[in-house]
């Protein structure tokens, strides 16, 4: 019992952060994490012996999220409650702050797969191998997708920056 807690709980802050970045609402994020943990715990003794616990937890969380997206898609369009600002760190450097918010907003406009990939690798520090487990594809595919995801995000941010600079003039 306590072994299970020792194995799983160290990953919970990262799971909550990833979930929050996906849904941008603390309650909805925690619902997602709770579903993920319930599923993980009920199946924990069935995991492959060589399974990486961190990759496994992120896999379950992401699958839950993708399932909710598909359910929502079936029910028609939805509006996400954005309480993002409440959680965003204050940043003394004004220009950075502007670009930083742009990065987060730009990220939210990317397709789920690119968003998850960038969050898991760039923010949560998953290795390419762990990401390959989460997405169920070979490492080579992860790297080419990551490359495309970075290109998309760069294009969005550079586009956004240009608009901002023009407005400043």
């Amino acid at each position: 019992m306590t072994d299970l807690a020792a194995e799983i709980e160290p990953h919970i802050p990262a799971l909550r952060r990833y979930a929050w970045a996906l849904v941008r609402n603390q309650d909805a994020a925690d619902d997602l994490v709770q579903d993920c943990l319930e599923r993980a715990i009920s199946r924990w003794h069935l995991r492959r012996p060589d399974a990486d616990p961190r990759a496994l937890l992120f896999t379950i969380l992401r699958n839950q999220y993708v399932n909710t997206l598909r359910q929502k898609a079936r029910r028609g369009p939805h509006v996400d409650i954005q309480d993002a600002e409440a959680h965003i760190a204050s940043d003394p450097d004004g220009e950075r702050s502007l670009l930083g918010r742009d990065a987060l907003q730009a990220l939210s406009t990317l397709p789920e797969e690119q968003r998850s990939l960038l969050l898991l690798i760039a923010v949560e520090g998953l290795s390419y191998q762990q990401a390959a487990e989460v997405f169920g594809v070979p490492i080579g595919t992860i790297m080419s997708r990551l490359s495309r995801a970075r290109a998309s995000l760069r294009a969005l941010i550079e586009g956004g920056t240009r608009v901002t600079l023009r407005r400043v003039k």
Binding site: L4, E9, P13, Q34, E38, I41, R43, G100, E112, E158
Partner: protein
Amino acid sequence: MTDDNAPVGEDDLLAFVDGYLTEARRLVVIRYLEANPAVKARINTDLAVRDWLRQRLAPIDDATIPDRLRVETILARRQETRRRRITAAAASVALLLAGGAGGWMANDLLRAHPTQRQQLALAAAASDAIAAHRIFVVETAHPVEVGAAQQQHLVQWLSRRLKHKLVAPDLSRQGYLLMGGRLLPAGSVAAAQFMYENGTGTRLTVYVRAVEGGDTQFRFLAADGLGAFSWVDEGLGFAIVGALDREQLLSLADSVYQQLDPQRRPPPGES
């Protein structure tokens, strides 16, 4: 990447941003970036974006874990759910009497409330599972269509035909080894049957087919010396059938419930 002087490629640039290069290789990439200002600008943007994202999301990490997300809380809640499920199974014998009645069922189905309709659909799946069990467990020549030696193929094939990701449950801890499985018709859709056998030749089957509606509790059905526990979990109806007493069957059902996780990965291309 073992050769530190190999030409710098896209993989190196990715690994550079993510900090996975060896020191020697990192220096090679830095030299390359100095010589290629356009690429360097691109990489600097990637690094800046990564740092901004980390910084923006860092505060989420500081929060303490809420009580409802603690492993201990979830374990306690699970215990409670399981206890209720077993109690419900004990109370469900009455449903069986309705299960065999047959003729009026279709008529009743049309008028039934959604949850009743689902319970009737579940009862129908359970009686189909029992019928299939009866037919195939007595087979000595061809008890299964695809044997356990080709388990991976079997599971892929049945998953494809049922349009749900299936798992062949492992009941070896209870002494039952997978013999194999087969595809069965279930009205206009497909059903799957997995067959198991223990050391003394007792066979049991696990029957799966798509059932609409939400999850249900375990239901017990008994007929002519056979018992079945059935339930619906995430769009799939399951039934485990065998000539066993209820307690034995319940512990097997519980094990299957935990293993036959229809955790569907989204099909490629969707999402």
